[in-house]
Assembly symmetry: C2
Homo-oligomer: 503 residues x 2
Amino acid sequence: MTQGSNLLQLKRLGIDTYKEAVIYLRTDCHMCRSEGFEVHARVRVTLGGKSILATLNTLEGDLLQQGEASLSNYAWELLGANDGDPVQLSHPNPLQSLSFVRSKIYGNSLKKDEIKSIIGDIALGRYSDIHIAAFLTACAGGRLNEQEVTSLTESMIEGGQKLTWSVDTVVDKHCVGGLPGNRTTPIIVPIVTAFGLTMPKTSSRAITSPAGTADTMETLAPVDLDLKAMKRVVEQEQGCIVWGGSVSLSPADDILIGVERAMDLDSEGQLVASMLSKKISVSSTHVLIDIPVGPTAKVRSFEMAHTLEHLFQVVAQKIGLNLSIILSDGSQPVGRGIGPALEAWDILAVLQNKSEAPQDLRERALILAGNILEFSPKVAVGEGRKIAEDILESGKAFEKFQKICEAQGGLREPPVAKYTHSILSPQRGCVANINNRQLARLAKLAGAPHDKAAGVELHVPLRTLVDKGEPLVTIHAESKGELSYALSLLDQIPEIIQVEAGE
Amino acid sequence: MTQGSNLLQLKRLGIDTYKEAVIYLRTDCHMCRSEGFEVHARVRVTLGGKSILATLNTLEGDLLQQGEASLSNYAWELLGANDGDPVQLSHPNPLQSLSFVRSKIYGNSLKKDEIKSIIGDIALGRYSDIHIAAFLTACAGGRLNEQEVTSLTESMIEGGQKLTWSVDTVVDKHCVGGLPGNRTTPIIVPIVTAFGLTMPKTSSRAITSPAGTADTMETLAPVDLDLKAMKRVVEQEQGCIVWGGSVSLSPADDILIGVERAMDLDSEGQLVASMLSKKISVSSTHVLIDIPVGPTAKVRSFEMAHTLEHLFQVVAQKIGLNLSIILSDGSQPVGRGIGPALEAWDILAVLQNKSEAPQDLRERALILAGNILEFSPKVAVGEGRKIAEDILESGKAFEKFQKICEAQGGLREPPVAKYTHSILSPQRGCVANINNRQLARLAKLAGAPHDKAAGVELHVPLRTLVDKGEPLVTIHAESKGELSYALSLLDQIPEIIQVEAGE
């Protein structure tokens, strides 16, 4: 095989396939013939010193000339390609780490090195979506043991960047999702940093929920900070609230999350590894974990919560992290808004000590902030909440929040949706039940989280008395299409809020 | 949402993504904005009365104008689209069957209706490759119980076409793969049909092996017959050897196999369901199953073989199929050739009673054919093999084979590879061990099964005495590139054939 005989010239078609590397060749490409490449095959693409694996799609017609090839945008970026660059194609060596994935599928436990090799290949973009889906599925449903989750955590840490700080104590918190509107981070960070602790908070975007903290925070200030910018903000303000994905703390995890979203699946081992690896990457020393428990929350029972709690503690101990875990009430949404901007308005109301601020969100934030303050040797156990409340009420928390937002690129006002529709109570009675999952689904149907202003506003917490015709929830949407789409599905999800007749 | 506001005009770009439905929209498409569609999202595409689900890829540049959309070829076919057709896009209803897939991932067993709903959605092209990979993984590694495998089998039968015959006894055979070169079907069918039994044989293409029976048979005659053509051949000749995929006996299974190939994974429950459903679809009444057992065969131990045997028997009984199972020696390849054309040459040698015909292939075919003949009330137990041998030696089998090939579209000569390279024995000694898996891998590296003439020729069966420098295997390739690629990997797979020193 002479050098050059398998060179093709790159032509940018600008096809965005999300995080799947795809190579486009003509259906009658001479090289497909001579090398025996078939559509859907995995092909090794080399440009300069870099190689990636890509899935082959073929093109009829004249989008490409003989001798030309194109790449999906993701593959284009991985290779750092330019129009006209010559790429070399070859058969990929079988990926050894895929045999470990198969071994896991057959129920074997994986060794540290095997997991490291899988995560390394994923971070380098060598897995197709099919391979990633197989790996995630094989690990879901409690099929990773404690040692494997530890290895997964360590592998994710090793694959990413790491931040270091000049202080000894670096605090952090994480909420195991599933509770709409539970957006305490932007309240806690200013309280804790105003006290003097260091809290460099990275948050995630939504995986399967209507909003992640990063989505919500983005309506108030930029969150796409790189590592250097994040470090600058934290050195200046002792804290930040940024998107973890943009600082490449765990490139493999970001890819895994993309496929998890498509599968609408959260796996327990993956969750623990994803979360703890990010805490280690930002050099956190003390972490508080909030696990809301409720029949329609992500964690549905105390049994599940204790399993998760145990897994968190075991792995944290192995990787040398000081962990404190709180199980909280997950029976209903927190605050009033569900969706990025709606949640942001709730946060602002609490920080500004407004009388109409949602008290449940305020109370949760104070409890969690208090627990974090107690990581400090200066705060006695049991005194944290009071100190947190003083900082919030004095206005120091809001002042700090504004400074953090400015340091991140500027405080801004969250958008307001153009279209709204309220659902009214069919009768006089008492709010007996709220289905978190269906409420979250409704918010997503209305456009959250991609439409920042979209979502659902909940007017009546559990056990509220309502009159017939009183609004229960208001749907917010940025487009008429999405609003009517969400409304059209309402008939199929009738029992979002159950009002029991009576006084 | 007014009708027409979300109509786009189709423009064919001719992108082949294999069996994944993809819709291409402009990155700045107004509808993406108004409907909130994001890259990688699943979108419902409606044309006339038909709807499909497709994964969204976006395009920069001017491949599409505003108001235009394109589809991958698979999606194009599913919708029966024409250039310029108007398609309507909408948010898909959540696929209920995906919640059953998630339930399976969490280790629950699935009910008949749930499996039926999954298979139905897959057959309609509603699953993305990610969803299919998750389903396959969740079912692999022995995670389907007997009832689930039965339901899977029945669901696949219900989703496909069904053939019926005018005779009471319809025989069939199936070999549980993994043994390179074990291509007995094209020998057995002519023997059994020459005797007078009806054997409408559908075979598969390779999933993870260097050749499936359909790939091999295709080098001798057309195998892509539709149901009508297949019926005509069988009515005329009592038998056929065609590709099962082209007669749509189980559309879901064909899609599953495509993803299994990308994962390089065979699951036991899937295997049983795939195989038995196809036998019921062609209305077989009596089926012989051959399970080769050997350390490097697909079934590695008698324990695995018995598990599989039991699963086959349980499901066969539930769906009313008469099953006979043979466990055979799987310690080494059968015949000399591994790869479509090379295996075809072996078959011809046996059918033509040539002295150089591989005796192991001949013997296996006779044993299996004999067992099938004993399904006939006219043949006493123990007499089948002798009758089969008489039919083969008399030339009646080859005569019948030619007639079947002619009826399928014409007998043809298998191709011969342009490039070969022999691997010589490093010493005088005895062939002590042959690694089937590595031999199969070598044949695939050389280009099999997509290059029909490519593969590996094995010169020395187990326990043969060889001289130093005597050829052990010859690699055949259609291109220089593939030959040198296969050779370049030889160093990494040293012990394909182990020759022990001595007389």
